[in-house]
C-alpha cells in the first residue's frame, strides 16, 4: 500500500492556467496563480479570525433570548443569529481560530516528528528500520478517523486529547515519505561523498539529506493540513472534538442541521468557510509542488 503521492496529486490538480483564470494578477503571482491565491486566501482567513474583535462587536457565546434565529442582515446581525440568539458572524470569526489551530498545530508537530522518525529509521537501517516501517504500515491499515476517534475514546474527549490523537495517528504519512526519500538520497553521490569525508551521521542527515526530503514532506503537509481541518471539523460535528459552547465550524454545522430548512445559512456558511480554508491549503500545496518541480 502506498500513500496518495503528493507529487502526483499536485501534477494532476495543477491547472494549466485555465483561461478563466486570466484575470489581472500582481506581477509576482504571474505564472503561479495557485500558490498566491492559496496564500492570499489563507492570509485573509487568518487575519479575519485572529483579529475577530476588530470585525465584530458581538460575543460568540453570549445568548440573547430576544434575538433567536434572526435572519441575516436584520437587527444588526450581519449573518443573523442561531437558535440561542448568538451572532453567526462572530461565531464564524472566533470559531475559525480553532480550525486554524488544528490546521497548524496538528500539522507542524507531525511534520517535524514524522519526518525525523522516517529519516532516522531509513538511516539506521537494519531491524530498527524494519520494525519502524512495519509500525507505520499498521497505522495505515486503520481508517484514519477511526483511529483518531478510538484514541480520543480512550483518552477522553477534550481539546488537548484531540491534538494528542491527531499527533499519534498522523505522523506515519511523513515518516513513510521521509523514509523513501532518505533511502534514495543516501545513494546519491554527494551524500556518499560526505560520508567519505568523515562527516558525522547527524551532519549528513541534516545538511545533505534533509534538503532533498523537505520539498516532499512540505507538499504533503499541505494535503495533510486539509485532512486535519476536515477531521477536526468532523470531530466537532460528531460532538467529540471541541466541547460546546465553544464555537468551531464543524460543531456549528452540526448545530444548524436541525434548522436547515428554515435557516440554511446556520450550517452552510460555516461549511463554506471550511471549504475555503481547505481550498486555500490545497492551492498552496499545488503551487508549492509546481514551484518545487520547476526548481528541481
Amino acid at each position: 500500500m502506498t500513500v496518495l503521492d503528493p507529487a502526483q496529486v499536485g501534477r494532476d490538480a495543477a491547472p494549466r492556467r485555465a483561461r478563466w483564470l486570466a484575470v489581472p494578477l500582481p506581477r509576482a503571482a504571474r505564472g503561479r496563480p495557485a500558490l498566491y491565491a492559496g496564500a492570499g486566501l489563507l492570509l485573509v482567513i487568518s487575519v479575519l479570525c485572529l483579529g475577530a474583535p476588530l470585525f465584530t462587536s458581538y460575543s460568540p457565546t453570549e445568548i440573547d433570548a430576544l434575538a433567536v434565529l434572526v435572519t441575516p442582515g436584520s437587527g444588526g446581525h450581519l449573518l443573523g443569529t442561531d437558535e440561542f440568539g448568538r451572532d453567526l458572524w462572530a461565531r464564524l470569526l472566533y470559531g475559525g481560530r480553532y480550525d486554524l489551530a488544528i490546521a497548524f498545530g496538528a500539522t507542524t508537530v507531525t511534520l517535524v516528528v514524522g519526518t525525523a522518525i522516517g529519516m532516522a529509521s531509513a538511516y539506521a537501517g537494519g531491524w530498527v528500520d524494519a520494525v519502524v516501517m512495519r509500525i507505520v504500515d499498521l497505522f495505515f491499515a486503520f481508517p484514519f478517523i477511526v483511529l483518531v476517534i478510538a484514541i480520543i475514546a480512550a483518552l477522553g474527549p477534550s481539546l488537548r486529547n484531540m491534538f494528542i490523537a491527531l499527533w499519534i495517528a498522523s505522523w506515519v504519512g511523513y515518516a513513510r515519505i521521509a523514509h523513501g526519500q532518505t533511502s534514495s538520497a543516501s545513494r546519491y553521490g554527494y551524500v556518499i561523498a560526505a560520508g567519505c569525508l568523515g562527516y558525522s551521521r547527524r551532519r549528513i542527515l541534516v545538511r545533505h539529506v534533509l534538503p532533498s526530503v523537505l520539498p516532499f514532506v512540505t507538499v504533503f503537509a499541505m494535503v495533510d493540513a486539509v485532512g486535519n481541518v476536515l477531521l477536526g471539523a468532523s470531530l466537532g460535528f460528531l460532538g467529540i472534538g471541541i466541547p460546546q459552547p465553544t464555537p468551531e465550524w464543524g460543531s456549528m454545522i452540526s448545530g444548524g442541521q436541525a434548522y436547515v430548512l428554515s435557516n440554511w445559512q446556520l450550517s452552510l456558511i460555516p461549511g463554506l468557510a471550511l471549504v475555503l480554508l481547505g481550498v486555500a491549503f490545497s492551492l498552496l500545496g499545488d503551487g508549492l509542488a509546481d514551484l518545487l518541480r520547476a526548481k528541481g
Partner: protein
C-alpha cells in the same frame, strides 16, 4: 497459472502479520486510558465491588500477555466482551450494525462506478473540454469538501425541498434500506468520485495512445466499441488500485455520514461509544473496520490481477 496462485498465496501470507498487528493496536487502545479504566467507566457510580467486576470482565486482573491472548482468542470467536452502554455482548451489537455499514459501502461503490466511469472516459476523450475542466476543478474541491456538508446540502435539496428521498434512518426491509441509503451513499460517492475520475482520465489517456487502439481504429471498429471493449478494460485496473488505496478514507467517511443520516451502522456505534466510555465497543469496531479495509484491499489486488493477467507473473517479492 502457477505463478498467479503463488502471488495470491504470498499476499495471504502477508496478511497474517498485518492482522496480528491490528489486534495489537486495538488491544493497546485500552492501555491509553489514563488511570483506572474501571473508574472512568463507572464515574460517580464507583464502588470497589463494581470496579472489581469491571476489571474482571475487561480482563484487567490478568497479566498483560494473558490479557492479549484472551483478546485475540475473543476476536477470533467474535466475542469482545460486553457493552456497558447496551448491556449486551459486543459481538451481537456488531452483527446488528454491520449490515447497514456494508450496504452503505456497497451502494457507494456502485455510485462511484456509475459516476466516475462515464465522466473519466469523457474527460479523457474530450481533453480540455467542459467535463475535463469541471472535473479538474471539482478534484481540487473534492479534497476540501467535508462529507457532512455534502450530506446536509443533499438533505436540504433532495430530502426537504424536493422530497425525493428520506433524510435519515434506515427503514425496514431491503428495498426501504436501499431507499434510505441513497442520499448517504451519494454523499460519500461525490467527493470520492472526483479522485477516481481524474485517475481514470489519466489511465484512459495512456491506453488511448497504445498501438492496439490505433490498430483497432484502422480496422474500422466503431469508436464506442473501442472505448468499451479495448480501452476501458485496460484503463480500469489502475483505478481499482486507487480505489483500494483510498478505501480506508471511504470507510472513515461512513463513520461521519452514518451520524449525519442517523444510520444504525458501525460508525454511529463507534461515535456513540466515545462519550459513554464503552471501551469494548470502541476496540471491537476499530478492529473490525481495519480488518475490513485490509481484506478489501486484498480483494482489489486479486481483481486487478484478474483484469490484468500480466501482473500475476513476476511481481513476487
Amino acid at each position: 497459472m502457477g505463478s498467479s496462485v503463488n502471488l495470491r498465496w504470498s499476499r495471504v501470507a502477508n496478511l497474517v502479520p498485518v492482522l496480528f498487528g491490528i489486534t495489537l493496536v486495538s488491544f493497546l487502545l485500552l492501555r491509553l486510558v489514563p488511570g483506572d479504566p474501571a473508574q472512568q467507566i463507572l464515574g460517580n457510580r464507583y464502588t470497589p465491588e463494581a470496579a472489581a467486576g469491571i476489571r474482571r470482565s475487561l480482563g484487567l486482573d490478568q497479566p498483560l500477555l494473558q490479557q492479549y491472548w484472551l483478546f485475540i482468542k475473543g476476536a477470533m470467536t467474535g466475542s469482545f466482551g460486553e457493552s456497558y452502554q447496551y448491556h449486551r455482548p459486543v459481538g451481537e451489537l456488531l452483527l446488528d450494525r454491520t449490515g447497514a455499514s456494508l450496504m452503505l459501502v456497497g451502494l457507494t461503490a456502485i455510485f462511484c462506478a456509475a459516476l466516475s466511469i462515464p465522466l473519466g472516459i469523457w474527460a479523457a476523450v474530450r481533453r480540455g473540454g467542459l467535463v475535463d475542466q469541471a472535473t479538474r476543478v471539482l478534484f481540487t474541491l473534492g479534497f476540501a469538501l467535508p462529507a457532512f456538508l455534502v450530506g446536509i446540502v443533499l438533505i436540504l435539496v433532495f430530502g426537504l425541498k424536493l422530497g425525493w428521498a428520506p433524510i435519515g434512518g434506515y427503514g425496514n426491509g431491503v428495498l426501504s434500506h436501499v431507499g434510505h441509503l441513497v442520499l448517504p451513499a451519494l454523499t460519500l460517492a461525490i467527493p470520492f468520485s472526483t479522485v477516481l475520475v481524474r485517475s481514470l482520465r489519466s489511465s484512459t489517456i495512456t491506453v488511448l495512445e497504445a498501438d492496439f487502439v490505433t490498430v483497432a481504429r484502422l480496422k474500422g471498429i466503431p469508436e464506442s466499441r473501442i472505448l468499451v471493449r479495448h480501452v476501458l478494460r485496460n484503463a480500469i485496473g489502475p483505478v481499482a488500485v486507487v480505489f483500494g488505496i483510498n478505501l480506508a478514507f471511504l470507510v472513515g467517511g461512513t463513520v461521519v455520514v452514518e451520524n449525519v443520516f442517523s444510520i444504525p451502522g458501525l460508525g454511529s456505534l463507534l461515535v456513540g461509544a466515545v462519550s459513554t466510555r464503552d471501551y469494548p465497543v470502541v476496540q471491537a469496531v476499530a478492529l473490525v473496520l481495519a480488518v475490513f479495509v485490509v481484506l478489501v484491499n486484498l480483494l482489489t489486488d486479486v481483481v486487478h490481477g484478474l483484469l490484468d493477467p500480466r501482473l500475476s507473473v513476476g511481481v513476487q517479492r
